[in-house]
Subunit: 371 residues, 2 copies
């Protein structure tokens, strides 16, 4: 049976998808390594040590890329977060709290919940910028001694805000609480150094930001935590309990490897991507559509608020689905069906000419519907 | 960067790989849906409910196929086992034991270990058949009340033994202990009905036995356990904690879907596969290579013992790697490097003509080296 992807030739501004588009090299390895477990051809027991294809070399390159001591593959950022929380919790059963920014992805909360931990949320500044108050981490950590881990979303997937990770890591270091950075929307788009940001753990997502097929992710961490996070099974020497012995055992890992040259190149152009995002936001504002979140913005993922589109949706026949349907007609994908007042999008790697088409589309839709 | 798969045109008898070779339909969806998170094009919050591509319809087909009430996707059999153990353990914190057959895959032990559970092993009959004594399950379960879950490997990945699952499930039912069947090497190769076998949970592996790219698996279970295994997050309505909100979010799931017609057809020819395996084993025995495990054998995965090859390995220059290297020269893949005395292989979907080439290869190698 074959399933056609309907939006494949559309202009794609879906925040989930702009960073996960395969590179040409990645497309080639898909067929070559598509068969189940072909990555195990020469495996001698550990995914990260496979030499053909050179996974082991790739692990070393990733350590350098993220400036971390250890790298393990996961099936995504959320699985990395859970592995860290679960492992730390086992080592420190008395510490039952995770401090999390209030812009965190829902999977951070679920990872804590699954690990049996409670969540303390660090508030944001509210409308219109929703900035995380980094100082609050220090206040919370100073006031209690039952915090297992701090998590900072860098950036968050709603507003695309990039908080000051160094400020948070300094607070964590001062209170001896490890810090995990959720880099699902940054690692693979912009340069990320675990050392420079002062984190103990980072999680990255292949399908979100590293030009890979899903599901695959990277967990980078400091060697201080190797014995906890990568502890061996008592039943099988060398098999790591927290990763059930093996994780991303399939072709998504090959696409991650094949896209790595492309990823290393594209992060050098991050400044241009930010500049393009700011230009796009300004153009949207000219149409009366307001960009929320940090301003000026520092990321391609942006959240917009539109009273005009919302007012239209209250009057038209198709109601709140009209925007989605109009954009679909114009072959633009990425704004969720049913949203008009608040929606997010990403301009990452979308050519400026395509973004002009998107801007024209919004303008035309407003023109066509407004009374 | 491109990575070439060296063994792609080899005759493949690797037990990990014969059931995971992509169908032609699966190859086609790989490119169509390769981009990261393309499966989320029309997602409204739950993987199993996506309508384009028709994941929701596929879920219904799988329920029918495995005769189970509920289906969730996982990234493989081991992740399914851990999810079940972890969820049950949270609901029943006093029950700290899992009863497991001694032929279990190492990942069953790791799943229990990760979930903080202890393992009680049900012994096998030892050399040469290594049969699981199904009656032992009853004895163990009758003698204690701290057993959270029983696990039976059906068949195991070492000898390819198919124990009497019904006997085990009757014992479990009698003692009110749920049973999980690890069907990584059966679901997708032979007909598997959860109802008929009397299990409460089954785990299947897309990359091992359902003609899929990895990593993807299926967890089937009885509705008696929905509230425990598929419980919702207190933070996000509808998001299931034990699956971190979403699991196999990528193209491996599309290959699983695309291959399903092929899989439904091929399980009808299971008897022929068993017949072919038995023929192969007989031919190996004529060469002095003994098949261990159940006899007559009921699965394509077989374990062999060869004194002759072992004796050769002790004398030749390349030592225990000679067999692997000779087979490689003959373009045969699947016997692990370094093994001569004991090795496993699979004849699943390997044409009889290719198996004759394999048999000739063994014969020629023995002839060439024996003194």
């Amino acid at each position: 049976m074959f399933f056609e992807r309907q939006v494949k030739d559309f202009i794609n501004i879906d925040p989930l998808q702009t960073g996960g588009k395969l590179s040409e090299d990645a497309k080639k390895v898909l067929l070559e390594w598509g068969d189940g477990y072909s990555i195990c051809d020469y495996c001698t027991g550990k995914l990260e040590e496979i030499t053909k294809p050179p996974v082991n070399r790739f692990v070393e390159e990733l350590k350098e890329f993220f400036e971390c001591d250890e790298v393990r593959f996961t099936t995504g950022a959320r699985e990395g977060k859970f592995a860290v929380m679960h492992a730390l919790s086992r080592a420190n059963p008395d510490k039952k709290y995770v401090v999390v920014d209030s812009n965190a992805h829902y999977s951070t909360l679920l990872a804590a919940e699954r690990a049996g931990l409670n969540v303390i949320e660090v508030e944001n500044s509210g409308y219109p910028e929703y900035r995380i108050n980094e100082e609050k981490y220090r206040e919370i950590l100073e006031s209690r001694n039952d915090v297992l881990l701090a998590v900072l979303t860098y950036p968050d997937g709603n507003y695309g805000n990039l908080p000051d990770a160094k400020k948070v890591s300094e607070a964590c270091r001062g209170e001896d609480v490890p810090l995990l950075l959720n880099c699902a929307y940054s690692a693979g788009r912009m340069p990320i150094s675990m050392v420079e940001l002062g984190a103990d753990f980072i999680v990255a997502s292949g399908h979100k930001s590293m030009a890979s097929a899903g599901p695959v992710g990277v967990l980078g961490f400091s060697k201080d935590y190797t014995k906890i996070v990568a502890r061996w099974s008592k039943y099988r020497k060398g098999k790591e309990v927290e990763f059930l012995g093996c994780t991303a055992r399939g072709v998504p890992l090959l696409t991650l490897m094949a896209s790595f040259d492309h990823v290393k190149e594209r992060i050098k152009r991050w400044d241009q991507e930010v500049e393009k995002a700011r230009w796009f936001a300004e153009e949207m504002e000219k149409l009366g559509i307001k960009q929320l979140g940090e301003k000026p913005h520092n990321h391609d993922l942006m959240f917009f608020e539109s009273e005009i589109l919302y007012e239209i949706s209250r009057k038209v026949k198709r109601g709140r689905y009209f925007l989605y349907k109009e954009l679909k007609k114009k072959r633009i994908h990425g704004i969720k069906p049913g949203l008009t007042k608040h929606f997010k999008l990403s301009t990452y790697l979308v050519p400026k000419d395509d973004l002009r088409i998107v801007l024209n589309a919004f303008e035309e839709i407003i023109e066509a519907y407004k009374v």
